[in-house]
Amino acid sequence: MRPVYVVGTNSTDYGKLDLRARELAATAALDAIQSSGVPFEKIDGAFVGNAFSLAERQGHLGPLIMSALGIPERPAMTIEAACASGGAAFREAYVNVAGGFGDAMLAVGVERITQLDTITATGYFSYGSDHLLEGACGATFPGLYATMARAHFRKYGTMEEQLAAVAVKNHSNAFQNPHAHLKKKITIDEVLASPVVSSPLKLYDACPFSDGAAAAVVVSEEIARTLTGPKMLVAGSARAGEEAALHERVDMTSIGSTKIASRAALKQADLSIRDVDFAEVHDCFTIAEVVATEDLGMFKQGEAASAALQGRTALGSDLPVNPSGGLKAKGHPVGATGVGQIHEVFEQLAGKAAGRQVRGAETALTHNVGATGGSCVVHVFRRA
């Protein structure tokens, strides 16, 4: 395996955007390639993270994006792993460069979903579950995380106020992020008073439906050496899976694929979770950040919710979680999310995160989950 570097990233704003997926993706990719300094003709191909392009009656996004970039002869294809599509697409770009099959690959993530009304979009999101046993039985995507939350409440005594603290923290971080969908500071009382979506989860426990795109340019050491801009090493990369249906797992309060993927990626990077300067984790719901920070090993099982309420994951703490605002407040354009996390890390390690900057950050971890854990992708990065 060859060392692999990220040499340029970009992201569109996240939110309700009146652009088609191909336009969003091409916009993010154009900026990422131009900022990297890699000539367009050196790009060997692309992987596109996307889950729901059929909702805008369009499949086969890859060639459309490459055509929009003026390099139609370069191969590109969609990688689908539900909400982990973006992280999975980035990993395929990494694998290609690490294995010597390409010297410069593009990872793009994109989603356009807000043209659908909330109920129709809720239906689409449920297709990421084990639809036969979950979605078709009446469970929505929030409903499955709510089922996980209630199991966590019963096993560990976790409380709604503690989950609310995750939302308050991530909204506060997103307030400093110009790309964020929800730029609004909130209080614990406002979270608790917001309408119930799927008990015990309320509106402010949930991420929004967002459109958006993000892109990253992934290159070999040989190419990286020719470039003068900021760079980061992909120090660890791993994927893992588990039963798609939540109830088929031994423990409904934990995501096993997070444990497997994060241990493998950290081992490759020769780091422990405590060595990492910050983490961007998959917080589609407040309970998801609690479960993620436990499964990643930042906190013991059952202790992450109280830690969040104590501010132990806030900006300025020992291990800030989701300085970008996370899926919760930065937004969750499904296929873009995993690549957007990597864009945040690139900005942070380059010292360009302004009001949400993690001081002196040199290493970071990204954690991207598909549905309730059927897919998980973890990457570890080091400033180069």
């Binding site: 909330t118 109920i119 129709t120 809720t122 239906g123 449920s126 036969l132 046993l133 979950e134 979605g135 078709a136 039985c137 009446g138 469970a139 929505t140 929030p142 409903g143 709510a146 089922t147 996980m148 209630r150 199991a151 019963r154 309408p195 119930v196 979506v197 799927s198 008990s199 015990p200 989860l201 039963e243 249906a245 939540l246 109830h247 088929e248 409904m252």
Partner: protein, 89 residues
């Protein structure tokens, strides 16, 4: 399912399940996908059946958490679209 993830056996068959069990986790769905929108609020439940099998299902008419204490005994009711329908015993 074509192969058991625990023992590796490919001798997969169908079996009649216990019709009764207890609710081990649930949510009250106040927002639903289009096909269930007319039923909200309702409960989505995870049930441990008396034979040890864990299944999912739905309980129409359960509109608040107070209606569904932990460990509530339920039985599978006949009929309804989309998976198992449970009612209190």
């Amino acid at each position: 399912m074509v192969r058991c993830g625990y023992c590796g056996s490919t001798r997969i068959g169908t079996k009649e399940l216990a019709g009764r069990g207890k609710v081990v986790s649930h949510t009250i769905q106040r927002v639903a996908a289009p096909e269930f929108l007319k039923e909200v609020p309702y409960a989505f439940v995870v049930v441990d059946l008396e034979d040890g099998t864990r299944v999912t299902g739905r309980m129409p008419g359960i509109g608040s958490d107070a209606d569904l204490p932990y460990g509530q005994m339920v039985r599978a009711a006949v009929g309804g679209k989309g998976g198992l329908i449970f009612e209190k015993t």
